[in-house]
């Protein structure tokens, strides 16, 4: 049953991801992206990381998607924004060949038997308490760096977007 759910979410995520970059309609792409985010949230939930799953739905599938749709609405994008037809057949063929080679090389290098054995997660894995505890002890420095990073990003966004600085 678990495996079934996993493959369900997994294939749906793959499908929506590929369909998203293939679609010529910006709005369709955006909606497929939401589907992709939801599938990822499902996978997280299945791993027991319920908080991350909830955050994924709220932040990505919720907030960020609203922004994306807003931008699409404002820019009034039409069908012309498709990248597929822009390149010649040769370019596409070479690109696909290189990508295929890289993926084959990667997969052939993988030795599934040697993947680290799955450990049973701790009892409170994925809970708010467990994440909060790690965030403010082991990952204290990254947490603080993130605040500097966000400040720099805000300043940058304001500088570039404001009409007169």
């Amino acid at each position: 049953m678990q495996l079934l759910i996993f493959y369900g979410f997994g294939f749906l995520a793959l499908f929506s991801g590929i369909a998203m970059i293939m679609s010529r309609q910006p709005v369709t792409s955006a909606l497929l992206m939401i589907l992709n985010m939801f599938c990822l949230a499902g996978l997280y939930a299945q791993l027991g990381a319920h908080l991350i799953a909830a955050l994924q739905v709220m932040v990505y599938a919720g907030a960020i998607m609203v922004l994306v749709l807003f931008v699409i609405m404002f820019l009034n994008l039409r069908e012309k924004a498709g990248i597929v037809s822009k390149h010649g057949v040769m370019t596409q063929a070479v690109g696909i060949a290189v990508l295929g080679f890289v993926i084959t090389a990667m997969v052939s290098k993988l030795d599934m038997a040697k993947l680290p054995a799955a450990k049973a997660p701790a009892a409170d894995f994925g809970s708010v308490v467990a994440i909060g505890r790690v965030l403010f002890t082991d990952y204290l420095l990254p947490f603080e760096i993130t605040s500097v990073l966000l400040l720099a990003a805000i300043v940058g966004a304001v500088v570039l977007a404001k009409r007169k600085v």
Binding site: M106, K109, L110, D111, K114, L115, P116, V129, R133, F136, T137, D138, Y139, L140, L141, P142, I145, T146, V148, L149, L151, A152, A153, V155, G156, A157, V158, V159, L160, V165
Partner: protein, 483 residues
């Protein structure tokens, strides 16, 4: 529930804290400053840099802190001082530039400081999470700085190009980190090293992860074939920002490469020096050959900075302590000479960067003999002509590679240096050997106080490190010991 308090050493992150404070102060003061007192902004930033440098050079006992996330050792200190030097010089050459272009905002200087914080964290990172956040802090600041002259289209283009491709490269970087975590179960470099040398690991997964990491880092250091963004971004960005980008951030990425590859992945039974060797040869050759045909001085310096990253990677390919310390020395010398050269370019380019072509240097030596002489010394150093520091830096790099048996690589590097001499000397030819045919109606060029200060630092570095390199080389060598 018992919570064990994490290890926190605020003294170790002192320089970062000071710079964060200075950047926040700039942003706050910027709100209240009237437009005519904006000239204070660079000096506030400079004060922050000097205080941070003072803090960074205080004595320390090598250790890791913040739960193994942050390494406070001599290696970190060397790079911190290097970044602060680069940022200080960039601020000095920015003073006149920002005033002329009317971008003398507190935000410009605050973003420079944020970028510096990012670089420091990269050099100090002993965990891939910290590496990633440092790179992002640096990159986000750089994306904005590249497009800071908003009225110029090329600047907008540079920013957007850098942002889109940089975001793409971040994907590679993260994927690489994820795969390394997947195969070893750790993001901490020391723990990865332990797992790699002791465990029966999935080397395939680890190799792919390391390769993806190398692609991501290669993009940030502008190594060929991941360099496509570099010429346009370097040309479009404001000149002081280009100077900044070409020195500090490259050194920061090399610091990460040295830490990750020589500390952790080195124990893997895959010969990673082959990858670095290929990258180094491509980077040197493509950078130099492209620089050869440029008629625009700014674009030429952009391509030549690609090739300089290639030389530095020759030292990495040696995979020895000596090679790594030569890389450190090289980046220090490069910071000294390159920012000075860009400073003079910013002066010659005049307002709105209208005159960045090589021919704009025509007859420069007759109108500004002193500046032309300094520029000559700097380009001689960039070309690697003794007794300037550029020669010593290249010498140590090549020597370490020969000792490691990388003879072919050194051959390629020496041939490339010869190409480099040709195009660097074109500066001297234009300045000294070509008469200005049409008498210019432009007002004479006068060096500002900031530029003079920057050039004095630059000259000091180029001559001091060229004639008496022992002390700094010793520092670079010791930095590798406390890894």
């Amino acid at each position: 529930m018992v919570i064990v308090p994490p290890s926190i050493d605020l003294a170790a992150v002192g320089p970062e804290l000071i710079l964060t404070g200075a950047a926040s102060l700039l942003l706050l003061v910027g709100v209240f400053l009237k437009e005519q007192s904006r000239f204070l902004n660079p000096w506030i930033a400079l004060l922050g840099v000097i205080l941070a440098a003072g803090c960074a050079s205080s004595s320390l006992f090598p250790h890791t802190t913040f739960q193994g996330m942050y390494a406070a050792d001599l290696f970190t200190r060397f790079f911190k001082l290097l970044f602060l030097l680069g940022t200080g010089m960039t601020i000095l050459i920015s003073i006149k530039y920002t005033a002329d272009e009317q971008i003398e905002h507190a935000e410009y200087y605050a973003l420079l400081l944020f970028a510096t914080i990012g670089m420091m964290l990269m050099a100090a990172a002993s965990d891939l999470v910290t590496v990633f956040l440092g790179i992002e802090t640096l990159s986000l600041s750089l994306y904005v700085l590249a497009g800071y002259t908003r009225t110029r289209l090329v600047s907008n283009e540079a920013s957007l190009k850098y942002f889109l491709l940089g975001g793409f490269a971040t994907g590679f970087l993260l994927y690489g980190i994820a795969l390394i975590y997947g195969s070893t179960g750790h993001t901490n470099l020391a723990k990865i090293a332990y797992a790699v040398s002791h465990g029966n690991l999935n080397t395939g997964l680890l190799t792919i992860g390391a390769l993806l990491l190398l692609v991501g880092l290669g993009f940030k250091v502008a190594a060929v074939p991941f360099h496509q963004w570099t010429p346009d971004v370097y040309q479009g960005a404001p000149i002081p920002v280009t100077a900044f980008m070409s020195a500090g951030p490259k050194a920061a990425v090399l610091a990460v490469m040295i830490r990750v590859f020589e500390q952790s992945i080195a124990f893997m039974n895959v010969d990673w020096t082959v990858w670095i060797t290929i990258l180094a040869i491509l980077t040197m050759t493509v950078g130099n050959i492209a620089a050869l045909v440029q008629s625009d001085a700014k674009r030429m310096l952009a391509f030549s900075s690609i090739s300089h990253a290639g030389y530095a990677m020759v030292g990495m390919a040696a995979a020895s302590r000596e090679g790594s310390s030569a890389v450190l020395y090289y980046m220090l010398v490069y910071t000294f000479m390159n920012i000075g050269a860009f400073g003079i370019l910013a002066l010659v380019a005049r307002q709105n960067e209208q005159r960045t072509a090589m021919r704009d240097f025509t007859g420069f030596a007759y109108k500004n003999p002193a500046l032309a002489f300094i520029m000559t010394i700097l380009v001689f150093s960039l070309a690697g002509i003794p007794p300037m520091a550029g020669f010593m830096a290249k010498f140590y790099i090549f020597m370490s590679a020969i000792k490691a048996g990388q003879n072919f690589l050194v051959l390629a590097a020496v041939l490339n240096s010869a190409i480099g001499i040709y195009y660097y000397l074109r500066f001297a030819i234009y300045m000294y050997m070509k008469e200005d045919e049409a008498p210019s109606t432009l007002p004479p060029l006068r060096a500002s106080l900031g530029l003079i200060l920057a050039l004095v630092i630059s000259l000091y570095g180029v001559i001091r490190l060229g004639v008496l390199p022992a002390e700094y080389l010793d520092f670079a060598g010791k930095a590798l010991l406390t890894f």
